[in-house]
Structures are given as structure tokens and as C-alpha cells.
């Protein structure tokens, strides 16, 4: 087990610094926006001006996780599917519309995917392992696979999370390249994980990715069987509304995208929901089923005890 010692999410829900988000979750309305924390409490004003939403969210959620745990992180693993889109689009527009030889490098510098991880290391003054994974809808899961590997290798206190940001341009790519089932948006969720259970009895039991999924239910059964479980042992399944598996009576299911909105880091927010569900209910197992891209399946099993 990889126990969750800290969680911080910036989302459309009242999730930041919230003791438990589960009972307050609300389905997103049409005009819903992400709720921005008071960033200036976390980031100096000179930096804050330069930082795009995904950088603000990733850095702030990470700082908040750091405040919750006792020690510096000894590894940092970040997932992002599309990275720093605002600065990428900004720099692209500049180079395609300007003839000047002198361009400001800020947007370029901040356009690389690992600006999130880099800002976290700078913000926390952290010299540890720092990795950025990008694998479309499975970016969070591969970042978690790395984080788990770090714990297995003896790291005591690992920061893992995912962040993605929305730009209006993405709406031009709907519905062919990106789902239009719920509003396209931004979000970040970060976690501190550890093999120690002195402060938490809820954690990540196992993570799985599959890039050629023919039948979701078969993959879910095989994954659970490796953990000695069956689908009927689950208390809650968090998936999207198109999930291609039968969920037996007695197992609750929820469409997490209805609460997070659509972005490829949403499965990380689903893990936050799963944690808070287990923390407040008489329940033991939650499965997050990520099939935001057809054929590419991510499964994260969250367990209490």
C-alpha cells in the first residue's frame, strides 16, 4: 500500500484545503469555473504574474501538500497530458505574427511540459528526483507508476500529481479529438504518498495501464483478480458515463467527469474523490476507471486499511 498523507486539488469543487470533499460534490453547471485559491499566499507576486494557470495550480497544490507533511519530498512525479498550453499557444502566435528578431523568451521557457515540475522544485527548494510524464489520458497513471516505484526503491515521502489547463482553442478540436461530454476545463490534484501508515490508513493499492484494451470489463476483472478481488468487492466505481463495464447491484458508481469537467488530469481528481469517500464512509475499496481515450485504460485501486 502507498498511503496518502496529503491531498490538494484545485478544481471546480470546493476542494482546496477542504477537510473532505465527498458530501459537498456538485455536478458542474454550464457556467461553472475552477475555484482559484488565494495564489498570492503561495507564490510571490513577481512570479505569480508570469505563471499560467497550470503552473499556478500545480505549484500551489504541491506547496499545500508540502505543508501537510513533515519532511521534504524525496521524489516528485508529475503527469500532464497537454502541458503548458497557454504559453505554447502564446509563443506560437508570437512567432507566427511577429517579424522582430527580439522576442520575449518567457512564454517559450514556460511552454515545456516540465515547467510544472521545475517550478515545484524551485518553489520548494527541492533537489530530489523530478520527473514529468505525459501520456494523454493516462498521464496521471504513469506518473503514479513512477511514484510507486520510488516508494518501492526506498523513498519515504513522494509527491505525485497531475495538472492540465484549458485554452479556448481546444474547443475547436471537439468532439473529434477531445470529448464534449462535460465542459472542457483545467485542474490539478497532488498527493504525498508513503509506505508508512502512521498518519493515514487510505492509500493507492495498485495502478494499471493498458494501451490496447479490447474489453474494459475483462481488464478490470484481471486487474482486481491480481489483488484478490472481484468487482462485487468494490464499494464505489468512479468512471465516466460511457464506461463499458457492467457494475453489479450493491456497487455504487459515479461519473467523476461530471464533477471535475473534462481534462486529462481528471483521473487524479477522481483519486481525491475516492480518498474522501473512503475517509467518510464505511467502505474499503474504490476503483477509478479511466477510459477517456478509447482503447487506453487506466485503473487505480484505492483501499482503506
Amino acid at each position: 500500500m502507498y498511503y496518502i498523507h496529503a491531498i490538494s486539488s484545485i478544481s471546480h469543487q470546493d476542494s482546496f484545503r477542504s477537510e473532505n470533499i465527498f458530501d459537498g460534490l456538485q455536478i458542474l453547471g454550464e457556467k461553472s469555473e475552477p475555484i482559484a485559491p488565494a495564489y498570492k499566499e503561495f507564490i510571490p507576486p513577481t512570479s505569480l504574474r508570469r505563471l499560467s494557470p497550470v503552473l499556478r495550480m500545480g505549484l500551489t497544490a504541491s506547496i499545500e501538500c508540502r505543508k501537510t507533511v513533515d519532511n521534504d519530498f524525496d521524489a516528485i512525479s508529475v503527469g500532464t497530458a497537454l502541458g503548458c498550453l497557454r504559453d505554447t499557444e502564446k509563443f506560437l502566435t508570437t512567432i507566427l505574427t511577429t517579424t522582430s528578431d527580439f522576442l520575449s523568451p518567457t512564454a517559450f521557457i514556460q511552454s515545456t511540459h516540465n515547467t510544472i515540475g521545475g517550478q515545484i522544485s524551485l518553489g520548494l527548494g527541492n533537489h530530489a528526483y523530478n520527473m514529468t510524464h505525459t501520456q494523454n489520458n493516462l498521464s496521471f497513471e504513469v506518473a503514479m507508476i513512477d511514484a510507486i516505484l520510488c516508494v518501492d526503491e526506498g523513498k519515504k515521502n513522494v509527491l505525485v500529481g497531475a495538472a492540465d489547463e484549458h485554452i479556448p482553442f481546444l474547443e475547436l478540436l471537439q468532439p473529434d479529438l477531445i470529448s464534449d461530454k462535460s465542459p472542457l476545463t483545467s485542474g490539478a490534484s497532488f498527493f504525498a504518498i508513503s509506505s508508512e501508515n502512521n498518519k493515514s490508513n487510505i492509500g493507492v493499492k495498485a495502478v494499471y495501464t493498458n494501451f490496447n484494451t479490447k474489453d474494459v470489463e475483462t481488464s478490470v476483472r484481471e486487474f482486481l483478480a491480481q489483488q484478490g478481488l472481484e468487482i462485487s468487492d468494490l464499494d464505489l466505481v468512479l468512471s465516466d458515463d460511457e464506461t463499458r463495464m457492467n457494475i453489479p447491484a450493491g456497487v455504487t458508481s459515479m461519473n467523476y467527469l461530471a464533477y471535475s469537467g473534462t481534462h486529462y488530469s481528471a483521473p487524479a481528481f477522481a483519486v481525491h474523490i475516492a480518498h474522501d469517500y473512503l475517509a467518510s464512509k464505511d467502505a474499503k475499496y474504490v476503483l477509478v476507471v479511466n477510459e477517456m481515450c478509447k482503447g487506453k485504460l487506466g485503473l487505480t485501486l484505492i483501499q482503506k486499511g
Partner: protein
């Protein structure tokens, strides 16, 4: 458990495979010259003179993709040649990239801004993850796919991730490395940072002015003991050490003492169970920017003291191929170990005043090269080191 290297492949401006690359390395023939395309013609670059459609045709690629993905397919296929997909050998692909499908996106976005027949479907190649999935598809791999994007250390980190997944038993075999195509976006980006040398770059030289960009891809195949007992592939080298650490100094600049680089080299030696004295050759990151080369020199001095082994930067051959550089240079390291090569640091004249380090200046062969340390450093203070060793 050993992490065996059983294949390698590369493409860069100095060669479309290992034999070509050795020829150029031996003959001190750089791939850097004045760019030939609209976005590169004002700069010296290490470009591959094959268009995307020429790449597809020449290498018989059946999967469509961006320049980054196509270059990746060429090098990864080369590395995996002679290997077969087997049910009981869990095989993955871990690939590093920084620009992903930007060559297609930037052309398409221009049409969007000009309102000139914009086709949103073309952005399907944009995401870095998609490029890796296309490379995996070309090889027939679907068990595990992962893309690392940590700018210029991406390929080295992909190699490290693969080694760790083999060591803990999650994979038996993995193709690891990186790829990046030259794009208008990156050329303009490095121009805006004002770290180009308008002439030919001079790594580790006192008068170095900056870098030349390049493009390419490099991959190696890693296998576990169990895997080679099934595949019967001959181990060509061993991946013995790896590490990643953060400089946590500045988003783009390296710290003056190369703190993150020292942490990364030190830990890689620890993982390998080697001491600094065991290293026979260092393939430096050596981008030829004033900041990197000074910082890296200080870090090398910090780790190796007065006993600095032969070292060089091969970036005056290939240009800085960004996320691909660690993959291409890992192949150079394997070739050095296999053949006893030391590579010259082309275009060096005078040592950096503060450090006085003199890199390897001529091509040598038949040297004893048992352990090669290879550095890659990226934006965000992302410092990585791998050590490749003789079998």
C-alpha cells in the same frame, strides 16, 4: 540483477545509423551547417535532410506521424531489428520528447491564424504521448507506453525509467530513448533566449557563444536476465547507473557550481557501485552555452577532482538534439565501449579560464573503455546521468 543492452539505433545529422555515425565521428565530420528550410535558413543547425514523406518512404514506415514521431520510428526500429515480440517477454516503450508534433501543429496553426483552410484533425499528432504511441504501434508494442518530457534530459530519463521498471520486475524488456524534430517553434524559442552561436558551436571553449540546434532520435533496448534467457540476444553493454536530481536554481540557467549535476553524477556512481576513478570517458552534456559548460565543468571537477577522465561533448557534431540527445549519446557511449573509441570535442581551442578543463581532442580507438558516464541536463534544472558499462 543486470540491465542488459541488446540493441541500439540512431539517426542524426551525422548519420542515419551506427555505421554512418562512426564514419563521421572518426572523420571529424560535423552535421552542423547552414539550415536549408524556411525556418532554419538563418541558422547553423544539425538537420536531417529527409522530409517527412521521404522518411516514411525510405524507411518503409506504415504509421503516420509528426517529424518527431517519424524520426523516433526510424531509430527505434533500428534498435529493435532482429528482436521479436514474444508472449512471455513483457515489452514496453519509454520515449522522451520535448516538442512532440509541433512541426505539424505550427503549420496548421498558421493556417488557423491566416484563416486559410485550417484542419483541426491535424492536431491529432500534437501531443507528445501520441507520438510515442505511434512509435510503439510501428514496433507492435502495446504492453506499456510512457513518454517523458523533461526538455533536454528527456531521453536520459526515459532510459532511467526503463531500467527501474526492469529492475523491479514490471517489464522484461523495454525500448528507451528519445526523439525531437527541428521545428520553427524551438528555433525561435532558443533564438529568444539568445543562446545561439551564429557560427559553429564550441563546447567547453573559452570563447564559446552558444549552441546549434539539431534533430534526431536515439534508442536502446534494455532486457532483464529473464528476458535474455528467452530472447537469447547477446548483451552488448550493461546499463549500470542512473540518476536524476534537481538543480532548483533557475527555470533555465544552471547553478554556478553545478549542484544538481553533481548530485546526479554522484548518485549514478552510487547506483552503479562505481567510484569516479572507474569512469573511462565522460560524454558531457556540453551544449556550448557559456552557462552550461562552465557549470558542468565545475560539477565534473567537483566529482572527479584532479583525476578527470577523457571527456567531450559530441554536440559540435550533431548539434543539440534536445530530448533526443541523451538517446543518441547513449548509443555513442555503447559504441565507445564496444570499440574502445574516444570522441573528439570538435572546435575546441582554449580551455575555459575558470576551470582549465581540456576535453578529448582527437578520435581514438583501441582504448580500454569499460565505463562511460553520460550527462543530460534540461530546463527546470532537470539533471540526469547514466552510466553504461562493458558486459
Amino acid at each position: 540483477m543486470k540491465i542488459h543492452v541488446t540493441g541500439y539505433g540512431l539517426i542524426s545529422s551525422i548519420g542515419y545509423g551506427a555505421d554512418d555515425s562512426i564514419q563521421s565521428l572518426r572523420n571529424e565530420k560535423t552535421g552542423i551547417e547552414r539550415g536549408r528550410l524556411a525556418h532554419s535558413k538563418k541558422y547553423n543547425v544539425g538537420a536531417i535532410h529527409l522530409s517527412n514523406s521521404e522518411l516514411k518512404k525510405r524507411y518503409n514506415l506504415s504509421t503516420d506521424g509528426s517529424r518527431t514521431a517519424l524520426l523516433g520510428m526510424v531509430a527505434a526500429k533500428q534498435a529493435f531489428e532482429g528482436h521479436a515480440l514474444l508472449d512471455d517477454v513483457r515489452t514496453g516503450l519509454i520515449s522522451g520528447t520535448s516538442v512532440g508534433g509541433m512541426d505539424i501543429s505550427e503549420a496548421e496553426y498558421k493556417k488557423y491564424l491566416d484563416q486559410d483552410g485550417h484542419n483541426p484533425d491535424n492536431y491529432k499528432h500534437h501531443s507528445s504521448g501520441v507520438g510515442s504511441e505511434q512509435i510503439a504501434q510501428e514496433l507492435g508494442i502495446s504492453e506499456f507506453i510512457n513518454t517523458i518530457s523533461t526538455a533536454c534530459s528527456s531521453a536520459t530519463n526515459a532510459i532511467m525509467m526503463g531500467a527501474r521498471m526492469i529492475r523491479n520486475g514490471s517489464l522484461d524488456r523495454v525500448i528507451v530513448g528519445g526523439t525531437d524534430g527541428l521545428t520553427a517553434f524551438t528555433i525561435a524559442g532558443f533564438k529568444s533566449l539568445m543562446i545561439f552561436d551564429d557560427e559553429w558551436c564550441k563546447p567547453f571553449d573559452e570563447s564559446r557563444k552558444g549552441l546549434n540546434l539539431g534533430e534526431g532520435a536515439g534508442y536502446i533496448v534494455l532486457e532483464s536476465d529473464k528476458s535474455i534467457s528467452i530472447t537469447k540476444k547477446e548483451p552488448l553493454a550493461v546499463l549500470s547507473g542512473w540518476s536524476n536530481a534537481s538543480d532548483a536554481f533557475h527555470q533555465t540557467a544552471s547553478s554556478p557550481d553545478g549542484h544538481g549535476a553533481q548530485l546526479s553524477m554522484e548518485e549514478a556512481l552510487n547506483v552503479a557501485g562505481l567510484s569516479a576513478r572507474d569512469i573511462d570517458y565522460i560524454n558531457a552534456h556540453g551544449t556550448a552555452t557559456p552557462n552550461n559548460d562552465l557549470s558542468e565543468s565545475q560539477a565534473i571537477k567537483g566529482i572527479f577532482g584532479d583525476n578527470i577522465p577523457p571527456f567531450s561533448s559530441t554536440k559540435s557534431y550533431t548539434g543539440h538534439t534536445l530530448a533526443a540527445s541523451g538517446g543518441i549519446e547513449a548509443v555513442f557511449a555503447i559504441l565507445a565501449i564496444r570499440n574502445g573509441y574516444l570522441y573528439p570535442n570538435l572546435n575546441f581551442n582554449k580551455a575555459i579560464e575558470e576551470t582549465g578543463l581540456i576535453p578529448q581532442q582527437s578520435f581514438e580507438e583501441n582504448r580500454t573503455v569499460k565505463h562511460v558516464l553520460s550527462n543530460s541536463f534540461g530546463f527546470g534544472g532537470n539533471n540526469s546521468t547514466i552510466i553504461l558499462s562493458a558486459v
